[in-house]
């Protein structure tokens, strides 16, 4: 019996779980995937939006600005890579310049600080690779970038160390509310809950189910809405080129969204994208030839000289677009004990802290919960030992003295040690798949994309998890890596 069950282990669900964990409540998070952050939270631009884009008065604008205000301190507390790298909305011809002023005005109305128009020379001084045809830009000094999956994983870990239960590989197949006000979840797929033999019960339920939030809502609420999946495809480029950018570069937004951006990531790679395409099948995270070509074509407007040989990979994410056109956050209108964080598309990542704080407070108030006396701090991050200056090298040497596995580099491209990979598996909510290792350590994410390190990582996983290597997967059930078995 839980006080609160959160459906969805994306950045929103995990942030709510972490904030609720401050209270004397028994909490669980359920998700259909084998890891947290497996949906839109792992495949987005990673932008901490300043807040000038959302319509004034909208929930998006409110949570964007308030989420933004918290992001830097959250990232630092959770040891998540974050950079205040600023952003530029570019006017690439004279005709686009009035658009910048409109955005500026909207931003001021939303309460965004640090916004100003800059001229062509200033743009090119800041970002020498920008199209020289640029006529000016809207500079947002407060904009930033964050690693979205690191943030989600860190929030989940912090929730877990403070007693939140996570049921992964656990798809919700039904949700009932009894007259007593108790909710009962039927699920499939999670061996843990099946072992208990009892369905999950809870006093309050939070719908943070991303693209599936409408289906969950339909189980218990008559106040319906529709979530459609909007696919965004991206290219990722090598650090060699990422290191030559600092700000996030937007083109002037259109009615279809913020358009194709070019941005460095906190890990110094460069991403270009996304596209924006309505997709009927909510599992269809394919990339397509047309869209990948389109991104390169459109990004060339921002930066005509992107090299052709530094592409590392392409990926796509599905954004949860709500037919109401805005975030749905708060108490359900018709069911007591039911809370929503639905339709969280861009700027959802930025908004996550504010959404979590607001919902946690509502739920704690409604359940008459109190703050715990003991709230444990976030875990220290996995020690990666990067950096070639004296301080970093001495720290690395100290770690190796403790555990020689820190001195065995498994992933050569991203310098990830055997110890870091073992840590990724041993931590709370530890990695159980190759992709989960990748998100926690960056092994497999570099320029060789796992070509060299995959065999060794699989060996370490088999050892740590005491399983046969042929049972290991890329991202959970049925994504088996070695279907041919052994010789």
């Amino acid at each position: 019996m839980y006080d609160v069950i959160i459906i969805g282990a994306g950045v929103i669900g995990c942030a709510i779980a972490r904030e609720l964990a401050r209270f004397d409540l028994k909490i669980a998070v359920v998700d259909r995937a084998d890891d947290v952050s497996e949906g839109a939270s792992k495949a987005n631009s990673g932008i901490v939006h300043a807040g000038f884009d959302a319509l004034p008065g909208s929930r998006k604008a409110y949570f964007n600005v308030h989420g933004h205000a918290r992001m830097q301190s959250w990232a630092s507390e959770l040891h998540v890579p974050y950079k205040n790298n600023t952003s530029l909305v570019l006017a690439l011809n004279e005709a686009e310049k009035p658009g910048l002023s409109e955005l500026l005005a909207r931003g001021l109305q939303n309460g965004v600080t640090g916004l100003r128009l800059i001229d062509r020379d200033d743009v090119l001084r800041r970002e020498p690779l920008v199209n020289p045809a640029v006529q000016g830009a809207l500079l947002a000094e407060t904009a930033g970038i964050v690693s979205p999956y690191h943030l989600t994983i860190a929030l989940a870990e912090h929730a877990a160390v403070n007693g939140v239960d996570f049921y992964l590989n656990c798809a919700v197949t039904g949700l009932d509310r009894a007259d007593t006000g108790l909710f009962t979840l039927t699920t499939e797929g999670n061996p843990t809950s099946n072992a208990f033999g009892t369905p999950l019960q809870t006093r309050a339920i939070v719908n943070a189910a991303g693209i599936y939030a409408d289906q969950i809502n339909d189980y218990i609420s008559l106040d319906t809405f529709k979530i459609s999946a909007r696919r965004g495809e991206y290219w990722m480029m090598d650090k060699q080129i990422g290191a030559r950018f600092s700000a996030t570069l937007f083109q002037l937004p259109t009615e279809k969204g913020k358009g194709v951006l070019v941005t460095p990531t906190v890990e110094d790679t460069l991403i270009i994208g996304p596209t924006n395409e309505a997709i009927a099948d909510k599992t269809d995270t394919r990339t397509t030839r047309e869209k990948l070509d389109e991104i390169r074509r459109v990004a060339a407007r921002t930066c005509p000289s992107l090299p052709q040989d530094l592409y590392i990979t392409a990926f796509s994410g599905l954004r949860a677009h709500c037919d109401r056109g805005d975030f749905i956050v708060g108490r359900a209108t018709d069911v007591a004990g039911y809370y929503l964080a639905a339709g969280i598309e861009s700027p959802g990542l930025t908004a996550a802290p504010a959404i979590a704080l607001e919902l946690a407070e509502q739920i704690a108030t409604d359940l008459a919960a109190h703050h715990r006396n003991l709230f444990l701090a976030p875990l220290a991050p996995i020690f990666l030992g990067h950096g070639n200056d004296e301080v970093n090298l001495v720290a690395l040497a100290e770690h190796i003295a403790e555990d020689p596995a820190y001195g065995r580099i498994v992933c050569r491209c991203e310098h990830v040690s055997e110890a870091a990979i073992r840590q990724a598996i041993r931590r709370p909510l530890g990695a159980r798949s190759l992709d989960a290792i990748k998100r926690r350590t960056r092994a497999n994410m570099g320029r060789c994309q796992g070509g060299f390190c995959t065999p060794r990582i699989l060996e370490i996983m088999a050892e740590e998890l005491s399983v046969d290597v042929t049972t290991l997967t890329k991202f959970g059930s049925q994504s088996d890596l070695l279907t041919g078995g052994r010789l």
Partner: protein, 585 residues
């Protein structure tokens, strides 16, 4: 404080290049040498290359990768050259301070000279941007090779291979020999970029179709790969014709789509990289743009044959040894650029040290297309030919060479050089018409014409043929790959046509009357993750490969096993033994 020590020569990489360099430096009398290797054993990529075909030039005998490596490893052990295993170099400063991380800690080494021998890596899927899902079951050929040959793990049950470079071809045969259904090898270009020998012995021998001028256009499967879509491409623009897409069901896709010299470390040392080779810019002594830093092997340019890597490494070692002995101080380099002209995709060395014209200069170059009957010319800044050489065939799949000796150089000053391909006669078709059913896409002028499965089928029949039947075969004696017809005349004599030289005739006669192959495979060892790799001590009759394979796989292994040890004596009454090609304890 990070501990710091001095060393005369540090060699980064314990693969074939690094090992050969270390041994040559020792032969030159250098005492203070250190080999740094990131893996847990020496030998580099050779350890996973259990197939034969190594050593024909260096040792004048045919070895497997582990055997080739073992000879160098034993010599390094005999010379007691210090080796750091499991060691990762995280940085090199232009002043030649190396930062090392290993299980014993972090240290820095100040080197008199450094030889870069880090090898290369494979291009991943993302670099190609093949659209589709991101499911499990997509590996580079090298990753699959490591999983299989060193881990005894089969990546899947049915496979398509994209790219017909040598690793792709070799892996097609490896998978097939271990029971995986290889559906096709798909090649973007109108010719294979691998050795003709490998096209014949890895694909044709096993009826594996080679789809030239095709590419993978989409990857299907939500969790594990379910199929790939392939489409023909225009040989000129290389763009796929999406109206002619064909779906091939498979659970594994292997990528063999190019190798990239691994120079991230070189770039930290501010070594100038040539965009054409993606390796360091070097002079004829393999000296990079940074004083005291030399480069050899696949980090310098991707080689086809390990033998050439060993020779190149020895040159780098001699130069580095001379550098350490301060010979450079009295003889300052005078560098002149050697540039790629018409028809040349890349070359090394890219610079000529004019103060050293007395030593022979060997230019290694890769042509940008297939050229037949062409002349390679090295010219000076005035367009005067310094040396030229006629070639029957030049293909991007094989690194070619041009040697300039001291007497070639003109007495006048050279300020720049250019290598180009001239007097080209592009043949409209290959030597023989295409076989029926050959899946060639649109034929490309000058393209190599490896035969397809149809041809191989004919070959199988022909080995036990009636006298009147003619057999088609592709000659593997050289890159020309002549399409030959072999038949018996009325007197029962073997008649070969279509060959351009005597070597073709000899090959065709033996391939016609008694085709033989060296068989390499793996034997699972109970309780051990690493399987034992073995080969037949001599080539065995080709048509008996399958029947022998079963008895080899069934062999019981008692550890320890030493390299060269007989695992199975007198295979099927042939008098030929099966021997271990690796030590396994």
């Amino acid at each position: 404080m990070i501990p710091r020590r001095l060393c005369d020569l540090v060699i980064i990489g314990g693969g074939p290049a690094g090992l050969a360099a270390a041994l040559e430096a020792r032969r030159q009398g250098l005492q203070d040498i250190l080999i740094i290797e990131r893996d847990q054993q020496l030998g580099g990529i050779l350890n996973q290359c259990i197939h034969n075909g190594f050593g024909l030039h260096y040792f004048q005998e045919e070895l497997t990768g582990p055997e080739y490596a073992n000879r160098f490893v034993l010599a390094v052990e005999k010379e007691a050259i210090p080796v750091l295993l499991n060691t990762h170099v995280t940085a090199i400063s232009p002043e030649r301070v190396l930062t090392l991380v290993h299980p014993a800690g972090v240290e820095q080494i100040v080197a008199q000279a450094i030889i870069l021998a880090m090898g290369c890596r494979e291009r991943p899927r993302g670099a190609l941007g093949i659209p589709g899902t991101r499911c499990a079951g997509i590996y580079t050929a090298g990753t699959a090779q490591r999983l299989l040959n060193l881990g005894g793990l089969l990546p899947g049950r049915s496979a398509v291979i994209l790219g017909s470079g040598d690793i792709g071809l070799i892996m097609a045969r490896r998978l097939k020999l271990e029971g995986i259904n290889v559906k096709a090898v798909v090649e973007l270009m109108p010719f294979s970029s691998g050795l003709t020998r490998n096209v014949v012995q890895c694909l044709q021998d096993f009826n594996i179709p080679l789809k030239l001028s095709h590419t993978v256009v989409e990857i299907h499967g939500t969790k594990r790969l379910e199929a790939v879509s392939i489409a023909p491409v225009s040989p000129l623009t290389l763009t796929p014709d999406l109206t002619r897409v064909q779906k091939i069901a498979c659970d594994t896709l292997l990528l063999s789509v190019g190798l990239i010299p691994e120079n991230e470390l070189s770039q930290i040392a501010e070594v100038v990289i040539d965009p054409a080779t993606r390796g360091p810019l070097v002079d004829q002594l393999l000296h990079t743009s940074q004083p005291g830093i030399f480069a050899c092997g696949n980090v310098l340019q991707v080689h086809d044959l390990v033998d050439d890597v060993s020779f190149e490494a020895e040159l780098a070692a001699r130069a580095a040894t001379a550098y350490i002995a301060r010979q450079y101080a009295v003889n300052k380099p005078i560098l002149r650029n050697i540039t790629c002209g018409e028809g040349i995709r890349s070359l090394t060395p890219q610079r000529l040290d004019q103060s050293r014209l007395a030593m022979p200069l060997t230019l290694n170059f890769r042509p940008s297309a297939v050229y037949r009957g062409a002349t390679v010319c090295l010219k000076d800044q005035h367009g005067n030919v310094i040396v030229s050489s006629h070639r029957k065939i030049l293909t991007p799949g094989e690194l070619a060479r041009l040697t300039v000796t001291a007497d070639h150089w003109p007495p006048t000053e050279i300020t720049s050089l250019m290598l180009s391909i001239e007097y080209v006669q592009v043949t409209k078709t290959a030597n023989a018409p295409l076989a029926k059913g050959q899946d060639q896409g649109e034929a490309q002028p000058g393209a190599l014409k490896p035969a397809n499965s149809q041809l191989t089928t004919t070959q199988h029949v022909a080995t036990s043929a009636t006298p009147s039947q003619a057999t088609q075969m592709t000659c593997i004696a050289c890159p020309v790959g002549c399409q030959m017809t072999v038949e018996l005349d009325a007197q029962g004599q073997v008649v070969v046509t279509g060959n351009q030289c005597k070597r073709g005739e000899i090959y065709a006669q033996s391939e016609f009357s008694k085709p033989v192959r060296t068989l390499t495979t793996l034997i699972a060892v109970a309780g051990r993750q690493t399987p034992l790799c073995v080969r037949t001590a001599e080539p065995i009759p080709k048509d008996q490969i399958n029947s022998f394979l079963a008895s080899i796989h069934a062999a019981q292994i008692t550890l320890p096993v030493e390299i060269g040890q007989v695992i199975l004596a007198d295979l099927g009454g042939t008098g030929i033994d099966v021997i271990a090609t690796r030590n396994l304890s």
